[in-house]
Amino acid sequence: MILHELLSYETLRVIWWGLLGVLLIGFALTDGFDMGVGALIPFVGKTDIERRVAINTVGPVWEGNQVWFILGGGAIFAAWPPLYAVSFSGFYLAMFVILAAFIVRPVAFKYRSKRDDPRWRTAWDWALFASGAIPALLFGVAVGNVIQGVPFHFTDDLHTIYEGAWYMKFIGLLDPFSILAGVVSLAMLVMHGGAWLTLKAEGVVQTRARAIGSVAALVAVGAYALAGVWMAFGIEGYRIVGDYVTGGPSNPLHFEVEKTATWLTAYADRPWIVLAPVMGIVGGLLTFLGLRAGREVSTLLFSKMAILGVISSVGLTMFPFIMPSSSDPRSSLTVWNSSSSHLTLFIMLVVTAIFMPLILMYTAWVYKVLWGKVTEADVSENSHSVY
């Protein structure tokens, strides 16, 4: 294979860094509203039929949405193996909790309405709540930890070793800044779920979703702004020092890294990236206004804009870092030292370039077929075939 030399190793790494962002954002935009709706279910629906309406707004699409999550895992494995190895084993117990949520959620969707017993249904409703809210919170907590650096180092063989006792890998994740990041993430996805329900539901479910969603939008914007201020004054950043190559072998130990006062110097180096946080804040505020005004399609688009802005602001600010190490900065994972080989990145890019447009096309078609509101009448008429 010589074809892969067409694109330099450095270019491919930057493309795959971008695709990592695309996958995370794709996940948040699609599965995000599933999680948000899950977190909202006990509050937007007081009766069984109301809850079923809320569930059935995501009923036909959650399976496809969840694939963004699985594909995210697979793509990190394929394109950034050290990141996959370090993060999944480093956040071991937190990953298990997220995994448990992602196992319970499909089952809850599918099995909830298969028995008439109200206790059975209420139990699954709370399962849907927990499996929506907890991962939404934990994803933010994980990002908060990554921003501050994670205590790990590599041995000469590139085995990963974590500092500290095992329970610190869970309890230790919950520092104040990371909890704030978790609040941003949870509020943002609840906002997104509210925007989705505004579009897909009507009547009392929609009214409640708009009320809760608009509060969540304000919380998300406020917490996000607060986290930005905190990062300016209280969170250390990282930078690569000395000469380094961007197209060399993927070995983290070939780099020298040191801590800096703040990540936000990135905004002086690359002023254009300010676009991302601006999109996040403006999108959040517009979603708030849209929910208040009861606008349906545009509100969902604003909510998407907010999520796009917030997630990309984290990546753009940290570039080229992906996962810095707080205890041994030179073990930090960056775009230049933790990718797959040149050939693998190229092959994966070709496959992605073929299939991603196809996926977007047929997903769009499915959403088009399912376009329109889910009503209480729909649910009771098709009681056997819907959730």
Binding site: A75, F77, S340, M356
Partner: protein, 540 residues
């Protein structure tokens, strides 16, 4: 055997993988059977076929969701519990997993929702298209997963890079067209088709025994028996193909399955049954079929298949060669670009055996310091425990031939005996429902346990692949999985049984009315088609 983090992580992986595979085979096969039924509906426009599609589709859905849910565990567990493995081979192994998501899983998951929710929103043909896309997606999914697994059994198209301390892909098409992966794929999906066929026949047989839903049950048996017969032949033939390819790539696994301690002069006999004794390295009370092993393994009467003792001796040589590679690697790692070209050349020459030097890490931190005793011990470690492999394999094969016989019988009755089945045969079909699951789990056990002590055959030992976790963490998650999976299993079985007992409940009035009309029409015609006549015997 001491019980440490490696054993605990293996136990968790084995448990979650085997649990996942309780749901996968039914998904693979039932997706196609349902799509076939819907095809007949679209072609004939007979409501009974739509009812069948919806009924089996409902059971498919209950099963599918747990397959999806437990599959996430598999995708994430490599990083969580096997982080050195993920680092060491992620460059190759990650690619098929990601492609699976892009090409297959997105397809099946996106359309499965539309399958259940789209009956009123789509035209008949469009809905049929959706059903087939779900089936195709599910089966492609298996292809990519088995390409990943096939690479662990036969790691082609990759080489070690001393700069990054990992294996890197050199030839994607070699990984893709790996003969082990291709044979495994067809073998595995065929096993799924057999599983679904046995399931459909078993459930339908139960309805016939109870004189319920007779129209649905007879038609379902007809579809499943034809599909199942072809699949049962395929599963055995491709199992044989796997054995043939194992002769080249996994000699130790083959020898262990066969409990063949000494190299036998060609053509080797096949041990039908016997009692393997690992300590003494012999098999007691063996009943042999002359020539059979040689024919299966080499398809010749003159090629020898090496026995375990000879393979251990070869492993010892490779360990010594691997120690040279390891020594050179240490130099290269220290000097990076300034490494001595002579040492680089030495490394190139021996790098294929590097993994064998890693086997010594169990005994000594630096493989270069290994004593003679440790080298011998490590070479003995390359022999997996023989007796479970020997028996698991034989149970699987016996069941495989049993499926051919059962399917052939039901196919004959459905095609040439007017879909009348004697009650004992129906009872047998009900009792056989768990059999394909047992065969499938045995098959995976042979494939994975037989690869030990390696995660990637000859490249990376299992003991080196684990994450640096504490026993407490893994014990916690293992307990969590056991608790969690047990509850889900009970719920799943409860719903399956409930919906099977309930029977088809959609489109009932329309279907029943059609059955009456159809029966009348057939009765009015000369030489009425017996196949379409409902069983009018009153219930006992």
């Amino acid at each position: 055997m001491e019980f440490g983090i490696v054993e605990l992580s293996r136990l968790q992986f084995a448990m979650t993988a085997m649990y996942h595979f309780l749901f996968v085979p039914l998904t693979l096969g039932l997706s196609i059977i349902v799509a076939i039924m819907e095809t007949v509906y679209v072609m004939t426009n007979r409501p009974i076929w739509r009812q069948m599609t919806k009924f089996w589709g409902m059971l498919f859905g209950i099963n599918f969701v747990l397959g999806v849910a437990t599959g996430i565990t598999m995708e994430f567990q490599f990083g969580m519990n096997w982080s050195y493995y993920s680092h060491y081979v992620g460059d190759i192994f990650g690619a098929p997993l990601a492609i699976e998501g892009l090409m297959a899983f997105f397809l099946e998951a996106t359309f499965v929702g539309l399958f259940f929710f789209g009956w009123d929103k789509l035209s008949k043909v469009a809905h049929l298209g959706v059903a087939w896309l779900v089936a195709i997606g599910s089966n492609f999914s298996a292809l990519w997963i088995l390409i990943a697994n096939g690479w662990m059994q036969n790691p082609v198209g990759a080489e070690f890079n001393p700069q990054t301390m990992r294996m890197e892909m050199t030839d994607f098409f070699a990984v893709l067209f790996n003969e082990v992966a291709q044979a495994k794929f067809v073998h595995t999906v065929s096993a799924g088709y057999v599983t679904a066929s046995v399931f459909v026949i078993g459930v339908s047989a139960w309805y016939l025994l109870k004189h319920r839903h007779v129209e649905l049950a007879r038609r379902s048996i007809t579809v499943a028996a034809a599909f199942g017969l072809a699949s049962a032949f395929s599963v055995v033939l491709l199992g044989d193909e796997s054995g043939y390819s194992a002769t080249h790539s996994q000699k130790m696994k083959l020898a262990a399955i066969e409990a063949m301690w000494e190299t036998h002069e060609a053509p080797a006999p096949f041990n039908l049954i016997g009692f393997p004794d690992q300590e003494a390295r012999e098999t007691h009370f063996a009943i042999e079929i002359p020539w059979a092993m040689g024919l299966i393994g080499t398809r010749s009467l003159t090629t020898e298949i090496p026995g375990i003792n000879d393979l251990v001796a070869q492993a010892e040589d490779r360990i010594r060669s691997g120690m040279i590679a390891y020594d050179a690697l240490m130099h290269i790692r220290e000097m990076r670009d300034a490494a001595d070209p002579v040492i680089m050349a030495t490394f190139e020459e021996h790098s294929a055996d590097l993994g064998f030097a890693f086997l010594l890490k169990k005994y000594v931190d630096d493989p270069r310091q290994a004593t003679e005793d440790q080298i011998v011990a490590a070479s003995n470690d390359t022999v997996p425990t023989v007796w479970p492999l020997f028996w698991a394999f034989r149970i699987m094969v016996a069941l495989g031939f049993g499926f051919i016989a059962t399917m052939a019988y039901f196919f004959w009755r459905s095609s040439f005996r007017g879909m009348n089945y004697p009650r004992p045969a129906l009872w047998l079909a009900v009792v056989m429902i768990p059999a394909p699951w047992i065969a499938a789990e045995m098959g995976w056990f042979v494939a994975e346990f037989g690869r030990q002590p390696w995660t990637v055959d000859g490249v990376l030992p299992t003991a080196m692949s684990v994450s640096a976790l504490s026993m407490t963490e893994v014990a916690l998650t293992l307990a969590g999985f056991i608790l969690f999976y047990t509850v889900l299993f009970i719920i799943e079985m409860g719903l399956m049984v409930k919906y099977i007992r309930k029977g088809p409940f959609q489109d009932v009035a329309e279907t029943d009315a059609w059955v009456v009309r159809h029966t009348d029409r057939l009765a009015g015609r000369k030489n009425a088609d017996a196949i379409a006549q409902p069983d009018l015997q009153p219930a006992e």
